[in-house]
């Protein structure tokens, strides 16, 4: 497997947010800087239940490498995770457990629903499968596919990164957010 040569000589680490720059200092909006830091260090909680979980394993492996996006460290403890990635079918038996895991996560938290089964029940329109996790928890980004290719999962993570970057500090205390959680019965 030979590496191909690239012609790039200038390596960009990240897009610089707007701000006032001078020798030895950079002044910008706190929200922009915190957003930039947060989006490049999301700690996901892989809630892998079925086939989409195997595609997630392929995404974490060296070929597609989720670690490039700052998500090298997976957190299986909800207390320390930022992003809940629900991958796979959620049955009605599993629903309360998913909700409990979501409630245990600390703000700010995002939810990525990977795969058709998590987004809407998928091909399983049956008595035992929950028809979409947005019936019990609020979801930020849906990734369709059965299973989605690793590139699609990475795009889902990138869309989450856009949301993370642009999020305002006051969003989690706002009345709309509390109303949203209230609709799901979460305090």
């Amino acid at each position: 497997m030979a590496l191909t040569e690239t012609k790039r000589t200038k390596l960009e680490m990240a897009e610089k947010p707007d701000g006032l720059e001078g020798p030895g200092f950079f002044a910008g909006k706190l929200e922009d800087l915190v957003g930039m830091a947060r989006k490049n260090s999301i700690w996901p909680l892989p809630f892998a239940t079925s086939c989409c979980g195997i595609e997630f394993m392929a995404t974490m492996a060296s070929h597609y490498d989720l670690g490039r996006f700052g998500s090298e460290r997976l957190s299986f403890s909800p207390r320390q995770a930022d992003l809940l990635m629900v991958m796979g079918t959620i049955s009605k038996k599993m629903g309360p457990i998913l909700k409990q895991v979501y409630i245990q996560m600390a703000e700010p938290r995002w939810v990525l629903s990977v795969g058709a089964c998590a987004s809407s029940g998928g091909i399983f329109d049956t008595y035992s499968v929950l028809q979409g996790i947005d019936r019990i928890i609020p979801v930020d980004v849906y990734v369709p596919g059965c299973p989605p290719r690793p590139e699609q999962i990475l795009e889902g993570v990138m869309k989450i990164q856009e949301l993370v970057e642009k999020e305002s500090f006051r969003r989690r205390q706002s009345a709309e957010y509390k109303e949203l959680l209230g609709k799901y019965g979460i305090e």
Partner: protein
């Protein structure tokens, strides 16, 4: 001070969401310090009611459901289902198609054993093996994608053969894989097989005797590690497996190391089978499907010109094919053991009853018995070495 009778055991919930249990099943462990006294498993967290779903779907629409049984090796499930329906209607396929099926099934077996063995390594702390060998799984995904379009849940082939002739690119990829994978597998082996730490962790952990294995309905690598040489490919050959020359590896004690080594050797044997099959198949020309007009779509040119082909096309697409009444059971050697399909057909467009004999479901019952008296870390290793796939457990 607690006397001997009043010992209080602690309860540990190895919950459904746990990084070390690869899949969602719960075990409530009663422990005396680090030793496990009892375990109560709970499954069903991913019950997707396949058996009920199958009663609603026409025969060729059931293949995607079978994909999701043991999703690490979907082609084996697909082929098993196709062979069941072919047995029901009495269709015979040309040798070339059966050899192509053998190639796909053995690739799937290699893919599944890659996951299982690398995950045993991960559970002992050896993450390097996982990252090295998963690259080869990507190569197998590329081969699947070229043949049928999907990576993981393949829905490969049709009742009657394959949907199209395998392209030259697919054959190039298969040849390249067969040439380079032995190096990758040897590299993986050199990390773990004679590794002192790995051997100390896994030998004598979670042993299963042959009697216990047979009583608990074990099949597949778990049974072979316990010493019983039962392999459906040898005992009830299907898809021309009798034309191939391969060894069935068995172990002695049925512990984690034996299961790991049996799977390792099975990967080498699968590669030998694939090489034999490639030698027997003419890559450029030949049939890629049998004559099964009830289920296999006719050529488009015929559909436009021939009345009979038009009727068959309509019936297949609408799912209104005629099948005989009857009951048939067909078993294939899945990566975990004997995967059986028990199909009762009443002549209608969908099965009357379809029951999957799922090996994981049957042998996971023995798990509490196996880990009793052992330590918690051995329990984790036993679970990952038994290769419990949640999709096959719950169906």
């Amino acid at each position: 001070m607690a006397t001997a009778e009043e010992k209080v055991y602690s309860t540990l919930n190895l919950g459904p969401t746990h990084p070390a249990t690869h899949g969602i099943f719960q075990n409530v462990l009663h422990m005396d310090g680090e030793i496990i006294i009892d375990a109560e498993p709970t499954i069903g967290y991913i019950h997707r009611s396949f058996e009920k779903l199958a009663e609603r779907r026409p025969f060729n629409q059931i293949t995607p459901i079978t994909d999701r049984l043991n999703y690490c090796s979907s082609p084996i499930n697909n082929m098993g289902w196709h062979m069941t329906v072919e047995k029901l209607i009495g269709a015979e396929l040309p040798k070339r198609v059966e050899y192509l099926r053998v190639i796909i099934m053995e690739l799937a077996r290699i893919a599944d054993h890659i996951i299982c063995n690398s995950v045993i390594g991960v559970d002992t702390g050896a993450l390097t093996g996982f990252t090295y060998i998963f690259q080869w799984r990507e190569k197998i995904y590329d081969i699947y994608e070229e043949i049928c379009g999907a990576r993981l849940t393949t829905n490969v082939g049709r009742i009657g053969g394959f949907e199209r002739q395998w392209s030259e690119k697919a054959w190039t990829m298969i040849d390249a894989f067969m040439k380079e994978f032995p190096k990758g597998l040897k590299e993986f082996e050199s990390l773990l097989v004679r590794n002192r730490i790995f051997m100390e962790r896994t030998i004598k952990a979670g042993p299963v005797s042959a009697d216990m294995a047979l009583s608990y309905g074990f099949t597949g690598p778990n049974l072979r590690a316990a010493g019983v040489d039962y392999d459906v490919r040898v005992m009830n050959p299907y898809s021309s497996y009798q034309d191939f020359d391969f060894i069935v590896p068995i172990g002695t004690q049925g512990d984690v190391y034996d299961r790991f080594m049996v799977r390792q050797e099975e990967m080498w044997q699968s590669m030998s089978i694939i090489n034999q099959a490639i030698a027997k198949v003419d890559k450029k020309k030949g049939e890629f499907h049998g004559d099964v007009p009830e289920f296999y779509l006719p050529e488009k040119a015929d559909v436009y010109n021939n009345m009979e082909a038009l009727i068959y096309h309509f019936k297949i697409v609408m799912g209104e094919t005629d099948v005989p009444k009857g009951e048939v059971y067909h078993a294939v050697e899945g990566a975990n053991g004997e995967l059986g399909f028990y199909l009762i057909s009443d002549g209608g467009r969908t099965p009357y009853r379809l029951h999957f004999r799922r090996p994981c479901f049957i042998y996971y019952q023995a798990y509490p018995e196996i880990i009793k008296g052992g330590m918690l870390s051995d329990a984790i290793l036993t679970m990952s070495s038994m290769n419990v796939i949640a999709g096959e457990l719950d169906a």
